[in-house]
Amino acid sequence: MNSALTTQVGQLARRSVIRTLRQPAQIVPSLIFPMFLLAVNSGGLKSVTNLPGFPPDSYLTFALAITFMQGALFSVINSGTDLARDIETGFLNRMALTPLRGAALLSGLLAGSLMLGLMQALAYLIVGLAFGAELTAGAGGFVVIIALSVCVTVAFGTIGLFAALRTGSGEAVQGLFPVFFVFLFLSSMALPLNLIETPWFHTVASINPVSYLLQAFRSLLIEGWEPGKIALGFGIAAALFALGMLGASSALKTRLVRT
């Protein structure tokens, strides 16, 4: 039984990775777009480093954390549209006629997200460092940032799967992009929490889990090793993953009504 599940996950993971690699339209924007915004924002908000209490001297270092979150956003859309396409074309029905288990389907689909997350994280970090961003946590921090980024990307990928299974429509999944984009904005994305003056915005940003994910990345870039902040970041990613998988599994049961 275990070997059948392993085979299923393996085959679906393989398909997910192949599909992702064969869609440059998925990979290129998710690499280019965050780095473009990084360049624009670090140039446009450079003067913000003059504000008393702003952590680093370099806005580039501060803003680099945002790219990982934007990459995760693309993961929602890419994993969701791939699965939505399977639903729309009937490919999910084809798989439903095999002994495939729901858990295997979801796990396999996330392999593409994992691979994309890895590519993104390496690209952002290498380019950021090349342009002068700091990495106070050093070589170890490099590895942890990559790991955290992959975890966050996969966690967000589960949200994409949930959306696809719930709606069955690629267009509906694409419609989530602005929603999540906005969700990203309502955080400590552009300024640290202590410098957000508008009370309601400060409240929203304080409860937005994205702020603490950003904090985890920034702690490695700016401060060095802050175990509490790093653990909180991984914990939030794990919680998002669990919630996303729960939602996706439930939606899969409804979508795949086979007897």
Binding site: A25, V40, G43, S47, V48, P178, V182, E197
Partner: protein, 264 residues
């Protein structure tokens, strides 16, 4: 009199009205179109004006009407531009599904089709701006400009909307598929964000200052900000661009229409 002679022909205005009616009707009756058009600019406004309000304390930032009004102008022009792009999405979808062919067959004066879409884009923009302005005023936005200044500001926004619609329609009519979406959207996004979005031009430095200095959106944005603060600036350049750009993109769009006609 032959049947063809008896059949009434629809001129430019009639066609434009008919096309505009359908687009506006669909926009107002389709939550999937209406809600994002309203929500997205509001969230940008909230994020920039709310989340970045501390930027108003940066040494050298001395915009008289405050950071909220500063960001309002950017979101106004951004929503104008993206309203045009989303209208382009609708055109692409219409031509992909074959509905565009229905327009081409029925309309005597086909330029009215583009005009109709343009009217619809403006109508959508007015709805969005109405909501955005109301929210901005509730949020305490200060307006230093007079009524004429505000007319000037909204006129610039209208011109930006028209320009973006003509740009997007030209792409949509050439490609005639919703896959043209990123091609319509990306240049607009780039040109908007390579402008003084967060701080005035004088507080930018390095490559971004160089790029923003030659970016036409910078003049439009600075003029809008000048209007709202009651200190009009670069209005000559802004309105010159506001006239030249729509003309240039009207030619672009007309070329797209010819391609669509040739494709049948």
């Amino acid at each position: 009199m032959s049947p063809a002679d008896r059949h009434p022909t629809a001129g430019f205005r009639t066609v434009a009205r008919a096309v505009a009616w359908r687009s506006i009707h669909n926009f107002l009756n389709n939550k999937a179109l209406l809600i994002p058009a309203l929500i997205f600019p509001l969230f940008f406004f909230a994020s920039f004006a709310g989340g970045l309000s501390a930027v108003g304390n940066v040494p050298g930032f001395d915009f008289p009407s405050g950071y909220t009004a500063f960001q309002y102008c950017f979101v106004l022009l951004q929503s104008a531009a993206f309203g045009g792009v989303f209208t382009g999405f609708g055109i692409a979808r219409d031509f992909e599904t074959g509905f565009g062919r229905r327009y081409l067959l029925a309309a005597t004066d086909r330029r009215g089709i583009i005009a109709g879409y343009g009217l619809a884009a403006l109508a959508r923009a007015f709805v969005t701006w109405g909501v955005l302005t109301a929210v901005a005023l509730v949020a305490g936005m200060q307006i230093g400009g007079s009524g004429i200044d505000l007319v000037g500001m909204y006129t610039l926004a209208i011109l930006v909307n028209i320009t973006a619609t003509l740009w997007a329609s030209g792409v949509a009519l050439r490609i005639r598929s919703i896959q043209a979406g990123p091609l319509m959207q990306l240049p607009v996004f780039l040109i908007l964000f390579l402008a003084p979005v967060y701080v005035p031009l004088s507080l930018l430095s390095g490559w971004i200052h160089a790029v923003a200095s030659v970016n036409p959106v910078t003049a439009l944005l600075e003029a809008a900000r000048g209007f709202i603060s009651g200190d009009p600036t670069v209005i000559g350049l802004a309105f010159a661009l506001g006239i030249v750009l729509p003309i240039a993109f009207a030619i672009w769009s007309r070329g797209g229409l010819r391609r669509a006609e040739a494709a049948g």
